[in-house]
């Protein structure tokens, strides 16, 4: 079914009235942020706030992010809670569903501020993080950003946003490197298709640069409306160009649609690389055999080097998470727990819940963990973090790159569904 129109962002689901009334509540009295900020931690509880997408387009990824935050809360409290100076505070995270609408995420963060909550765990997606950042900036709140990888978030000069994930620029570039350095038959040409949200376009832009620097012929970029579920016209155009490799940058919804329609319309490529989608359990769930062979970049895998407080090594994290949630975590829960961990450690190092001192502690934070090294550049982005690359083999994402982390050799050209 050709989705002729831009598939409406979930704001469509949230009646404008709630959006409008709520958004205006965002204008609630935020002016009087006293220097110390209301110290939510004075009692025995340390409260974090999280606007997360439980319904709407990003619901799949949003739920995984929430799992990551919940696991962080459980593990920290199991270890006796957060030690602030002499006190031990129990970590309590409150969630509000932003229905995958960036404007709603901003409203929810403002409401958290009105309730005196200064520590925010980032919403899912760059658009939501971009909308939340100015609210946190003017209220003096701190955002531990777990899934807003878009570089533009860190170019506004904000001082309150700290991103634990590797920048958007690495997403497609690492896929290209993994194939070029690993494949027996190195592809000579690549076609890029991208959703039109800023994160996906940023990823595509850097991917094209990397592909050119590796000497591949790059076909002109094709963009499609974010959230589209029918990409048949895109597939038909790509088929006309006969590239060796197809790379798609977008989220879960578009990732699934592209692979299924590519099969339906008989697209012949050596393999498909996609950002975000393949590492989501829902991807293999909906595509079944079709998912095999698809390659994706990931922020973290369960054999990632590093060991740290509360979670131990990556393997310990994966083991503990599976015990608690019943499925092996891909990178979404891991980056969420890492963001929560960063905030907890910063508070412990600062020895106070005063937001300004915690912000200073975060900017100096440099610690090893299950997620690898966590530290932030002056603009709040973890600029030096690299990514790993996985390939779906027999229905399971398997690490194929970088060297030293591979769990299986890269199958290239990718196996084609019978």
């Amino acid at each position: 079914m050709h989705t002729t129109f831009r598939r409406r962002r979930p704001t469509q689901i949230l009646p404008a009235q709630l959006a409008l009334a709520g958004l205006l509540a965002a204008g609630g009295i935020g002016g009087c942020t006293s220097a110390g900020g209301s110290d939510a931690g004075r009692g025995t509880v340390l409260r974090f706030g999280s606007a997360v997408s439980l319904t709407g387009e990003m619901a799949g990824e949003g739920k995984l992010t929430q799992d990551g935050y919940k696991y962080c809360q459980d593990v920290v409290n199991a270890h006796g809670g957060v030690t602030v100076g002499s006190r031990h505070l129990t970590l309590s995270i409150s969630y509000h569903d932003d229905e995958s609408s960036p404007t709603t995420s901003a409203r929810i963060v403002q409401q958290f501020n009105d309730e005196g909550i200064k520590f925010i765990l980032g919403p899912y997606g760059s658009a939501a993080t971009e909308a939340v950042a100015p609210v946190a900036q003017r209220n003096g709140q701190i955002v531990a950003d777990s899934a807003g990888a878009d570089n533009t978030i860190f170019e506004h000069g904000y001082t309150q946003v700290f991103g634990v994930e590797s920048p958007a620029s690495n997403y497609a570039a690492s896929i290209i490197d993994a194939i070029v350095y690993n494949a027996h038959r190195v592809p000579r040409s690549v076609a890029f298709v991208s959703a039109d949200d800023s994160f996906s376009q940023e990823v595509a832009r850097f991917g094209v640069e990397e592909a050119r620097s590796q000497g591949l012929h790059v076909f002109p970029l094709i963009t499609f409306p974010a959230g589209s579920t029918d990409l048949s016209s895109v597939v038909t155009r790509v088929r006309a160009e006969h590239p060796d490799l197809l790379i798609e940058s977008g989220h879960l919804v578009e990732g699934i649609a592209l692979v299924s329609q590519a099969a339906q319309l008989g697209l012949r490529v050596d393999g498909i690389g996609e950002t975000v989608a393949p590492t989501d359990p829902g991807f293999v769930g909906s595509l079944g055999r079709l998912a095999d062979g698809v390659i994706s970049s990931t922020q973290w895998v369960d054999n990632w080097p590093g060991k740290g407080p509360y979670f131990g090594t990556a393997a310990d994290y994966a083991e503990g998470f599976r015990a608690a949630f019943g499925f092996t975590p891909a990178y979404h829960p891991a980056e969420a727990s890492a963001a929560c961990l960063a905030l907890v450690l910063a508070i412990e190092h600062a020895g106070t819940t005063d937001p300004r001192r915690v912000t200073a502690a975060l900017s100096q934070l440099d610690v090893d963990s299950f997620y690898g090294r966590i530290h932030f550049a002056p603009n709040g982005q973890d600029a030096t973090r690299t990514m790993a690359v996985v390939q779906i083999q027999h229905g399971k994402p398997v690490t194929v790159w970088p060297h030293g982390l591979e769990q299986a050799p890269l199958e290239w050209p990718a196996p084609r569904a019978p």
Binding site: L18, A19, A21, L24, A25, G27, H156
Partner: protein
């Protein structure tokens, strides 16, 4: 006629001065009050074209969105301060209406509604494609950082801004209701052919009404964009925003001065408060209110009030409210 005009203006100014005193409201009621004031403006803006001229536009959100995006582009890409961008955005929205108006206003009834609905959706697609508006990725009104920016004035300042805008909208509609221009619009609503035979240049008058209504909606859009700081095509061009404006005027009373105000206060407060109580049901509250409101109050609450506030001079004395309500429902039943 002059007397009622002046009395009405004085009365509304007084109530608004009182409301300004309410600045001590805690943040949640302040949010509700601010939203009510926004919808008073939006409803009055729709009332001009939908109520007075009888052209039920279903694309008003296009002017709201165009005003908002114009402010965002002027501040983010051109470096204007917001307070300079505000009047420019209002004027731009009015000019936009003057351009899209003539072809649309040749149509009537459902065809006009659908054409305006299509126009608004088309405008959203256009904004989502253009580079200067940031496309689907949204655009940030700079309120911080090294480059030119306008400091974020805080919720109270926005409450006052929406208050001023609501007062202006009310005054404009009150003036309109008592003026030659308003009479011409009412004549067009009653019978456009006869109006033209009475010397009314109908197309020009209708386009002027659409531009005036776009001016108000555009200003509200610009203010809203500044308040949200980050604007997206889907949040600025949401069809439900138009529907709410229309429902508020219908439930309040089409073509009256007080109708939209009554409608905005009743409808807005009801939805926002209900949202707080039955949050599990909340997605269903708004649509249910739209359906119930329109079916039970097809001619609006204003007609039930004993004194017809500015509903046209010398209206016949009002029958008992309940009778009028049943009569309206009976009159429109198949």
């Amino acid at each position: 006629m002059e007397k009622t005009g002046r009395r009405w203006l004085a009365g509304s100014a007084a109530t608004i001065a009182l409301a300004a005193g309410g600045a001590a409201l805690p943040s949640q009621p302040l949010g509700t009050a601010t939203s009510v004031l926004l919808f008073v403006t939006l409803a009055q803006s729709w009332n001009i074209i939908g109520g007075f001229a009888g052209y039920p536009s279903f694309g008003q959100v296009a002017f709201f969105g165009v005003g908002g995006y114009c402010a965002a582009v002027l501040t983010a890409q051109v470096g204007f301060s917001f307070w300079a961008a505000l009047p420019a955005s209002a004027a731009f929205a009015a000019a936009f209406a003057a351009v899209v108006g003539p072809p649309l206003l040749r149509l009537r009834g459902n065809a006009f509604s659908i054409a305006t609905l299509g126009m608004a959706a088309g405008t959203r697609e256009l904004v989502a494609i253009l580079g200067v508006t940031g496309g689907g990725a949204g655009l940030t009104v700079p309120t911080f950082g090294p480059g030119p920016h306008t400091a974020y004035p805080g919720a109270l300042a926005f409450y006052w801004a929406y208050l001023a805008l609501a007062a202006v909208s009310l005054a404009v509609v009150a003036w309109l209701s008592a003026s030659r221009f308003g009479l011409a619009l009412r004549a067009i609503r009653a019978d456009e052919t006869a109006a033209e035979s009475a010397g009314v240049a109908t197309t020009r008058t209708k386009v002027a009404a659409l531009a005036l209504s776009a001016l108000l909606a555009g200003t509200a859009g610009a203010l809203f964009a500044f308040q949200q700081v980050v604007v997206f095509p889907d949040s600025m061009f949401d069809i439900t925003t138009t529907t709410l404006m229309v429902v508020i005027v219908v439930v309040g009373g089409r073509g009256t001065v007080a109708g939209p105000v009554v409608g905005a206060v009743v409808f807005e407060t009801l939805v926002t408060e209900l949202h707080l109580f039955a949050s599990r049901l909340d997605p269903l509250i708004l649509p249910a209110l739209i359906v119930v409101g329109v079916v039970l109050l097809p001619d609006g609450v204003a007609h039930l009030l004993p004194v017809p506030p500015g509903a046209g001079r010398g209206g016949t004395p009002r029958a008992r409210p309940r009778a009028v309500l049943l009569d309206a429902v009976r009159r429109y039943r198949l």
